[in-house]
């Protein structure tokens, strides 16, 4: 049911975006940041990044694999502190229980992804699989990456 609402929201946003595009055919990809939380384009871009880099282990439904790869639905790691979450993508993760459950596979670092890609995929993950949380912006990823290097 929740998934339906997310879908509905996405469709509504997409429709809104389409209408906006019809009105302003010039501004194709709003280089000007999305003021409102979750534009459909970002979710779609995030899904593409997810499919190419995350789906094998975390699965199409974000449910992960019991005992091996953690789920992404409603975990404190996904819904909680964004800097920590960005850090997981940048550095990978291992030997870390998630909400009390052990997972044995190593998550490799994904620091080849751009700030935009990481922002997109985390925004997608935080608003899919039953999740509803604020977007992650490229600026937040950039800041986390800079802090990460220190």
């Amino acid at each position: 049911m929740k998934r339906f609402f997310v879908l509905l929201a996405a469709v509504t946003l997409l429709h809104g975006a389409a209408v906006a595009q019809q009105k302003k055919p010039v501004a194709k990809k709003p280089a000007g940041k999305p003021a409102t939380a979750m534009p459909a384009a970002r979710l779609a871009a995030g899904k593409t990044v997810y499919t190419q880099n995350c789906l094998t282990c975390h699965m199409a439904d974000g449910g992960g694999v019991e005992g091996m790869n953690p789920p992404l639905s409603k975990t404190t790691w996904v819904l909680g502190d964004k800097t920590r979450l960005v850090g997981v993508v940048l550095n990978g993760l291992q030997d870390q229980d998630i909400d009390g459950e052990p997972y044995r596979n190593v998550m490799p670092a994904q620091n080849q992804l751009t700030d935009q890609q990481i922002a997109d995929v985390l925004t997608y993950v935080r608003n899919s699989f039953g999740n509803k949380a604020s977007a992650v912006t490229p600026a937040e990823v950039k800041a986390a990456r800079a802090a990460n290097k220190k």
Binding site: T51, T56, M59, D61, E66, G67, G92, P108, A109
Partner: protein, 431 residues
């Protein structure tokens, strides 16, 4: 009450029934009654199945004693701190949890010469059994093997014994393909893979000597990424193992493998081992379609280059990523002749075939002749997943993990997802 009463009546009827049976034929075994829908399983004609127990635990491997007691190894201890469950025969061929011991999680469990062996993810213990198959020292087992490496990935220590006083223990590689950075896109293989010194193979120990570590053991076979299912074949007098093949060829080398190839490569392989055998992980993998050993991309392979080096060829191959978690050579007489001395293999099911449909969640039969695979394998027990859709999504109801043969020749299957224990029987009269 309206629930308890019929059950009570049923029980009394069953007891009365078995009493009258006993009166007629004192040695007659209790009748085994298949569930009306064969416990949801799809089986060959003439077979039936029943759920004998719902343990609620992560039931990994299991054994059945000559008197029908089940010992089930749990991957983590239950709420009462029991890592091994004891289940005793009940009516209709079912069993009831009657106790437990061993406050450690793990996978391996095996019976041999009056002892019950069980493993944690680091150690192997053994318990003395009395004439009734009851453990006599549940709180004070002998520690036979100790200090095996456990770095979470491929941590389970499956065990089996031969007929000459040796214990074989799998020590899985704590890695996918021995990359410099495990599972990292484009990361190459570590030269002369150091993991193989203490893992990625089968180690042999004495079955009766306490506190053996790596120094006392022998690396019996190497180049095996992770083995969960293994069994001793008494006809060939040889150890057979099922390897879990490497993951994620496309994720790591997208320019060499597409997602379809990645889903179908490499095959899950059965190996017939002899001392000193090397199956080639991480340097090679087996392409089940071309039936060739290929060079791994981490070690100079490109998806087309055949393996260099002298490595053991698999004895048989099965669909990729389906995770063979148990191997059992069937020696019973309950099933028809074709099954005798053949192998049952429990496939736990895949996770890394996406975006292709997931696969597995079944028990396969591999015919054998004179101690060697002979003829094509077939799916023997299917639909542990519940529906084809649940299987394809990788969200099965049950995941077959352990196999055991009962004294009457029944085949027991454990599920480590919900803890269901199945029993498969041949119900048709043999002519």
């Amino acid at each position: 009450m309206n629930r308890t009463l019929p059950r009570y009546l049923l029980l009394s009827a069953a007891v009365a029934g078995s009493l009258s049976l006993l009166a007629l034929r004192p040695s007659a075994p209790a009748a085994v009654v298949a569930d009306p829908n064969n416990a949801g399983l799809k089986l060959p004609a003439g077979f039936g199945a029943l759920v004998v127990a719902e343990t609620g635990g992560r039931a990994r491997h299991l054994v059945v004693t000559p008197k029908g007691i089940l010992y089930v190894k749990l991957n983590r201890p239950d709420k009462s701190g029991r890592g091994i469950l004891k289940l005793t025969p009940n009516v209709g061929g079912k069993v009831t949890v009657a106790g437990g011991f061993g406050n450690y999680g793990g996978t391996g469990i095996s019976l041999k010469d009056g002892y019950l062996y069980a493993s944690s993810d680091e150690d192997v213990y053994r318990y003395k059994l009395d004439g009734n198959g009851e453990v006599t020292n549940p709180t004070a087992p002998e520690k036979i093997v100790t200090g095996l490496i456990n770095r979470r990935q491929h941590e389970s220590k499956s065990i089996v014994l031969d007929n000459a006083g040796n214990l074989y223990v799998n020590i899985g590689a704590y890695s996918n393909s021995c990359q410099e950075q495990d599972r990292q896109k484009g990361s190459m293989g570590q030269p002369n893979c150091p993991i193989l010194e203490q893992a990625g193979g089968i180690w042999q120990f004495r079955a009766d000597k306490p506190n053996q570590g790596y120094a006392e053991g022998t690396r019996y076979a190497t180049g095996l990424r992770n083995v969960v299912g293994l069994d001793w074949n008494s006809q060939a007098n040889q150890l057979f193992v099922m390897q879990h093949g490497r993951d994620q060829l496309h994720d790591i080398f997208p320019e060499l493998y597409d997602t379809k190839q990645s889903a179908e490569l490499p095959a899950e392989c059965l190996y017939a081992l002899t001392k000193g055998a090397n199956a080639g992980w991480p340097y090679v993998y087996y392409d089940g379609q071309q039936r060739k050993l290929m060079q791994a991309p981490e070690y100079g392979g490109d998806g087309k280059k055949e393996a260099t080096g002298n490595y053991l060829q698999p004895a048989a191959a099965y669909p990729a990523h389906t995770a063979p978690n148990a191997l059992l050579f069937y020696t019973g007489t309950m099933f028809p002749e074709k099954y005798r001395h053949g192998a049952f293999i429990a496939f736990h099911g895949s996770w890394n075939r996406a975006p292709e449909p997931q696969k597995g969640y079944y028990v396969v039969f591999q015919p054998f002749k004179d101690g060697k695979p002979s003829g094509n394998w077939e799916v023997f027990a299917d639909n542990f997943a519940g529906t084809p859709e649940k299987a394809a999504a990788g969200r099965p109801d049950h995941k077959p993990c352990g196999l055991a043969q009962g004294p009457d020749g029944s085949l027991y299957v454990s599920d480590d997802s919900k803890g269901t224990i199945y029993r498969i029987v041949y119900t048709q009269k043999k002519s």
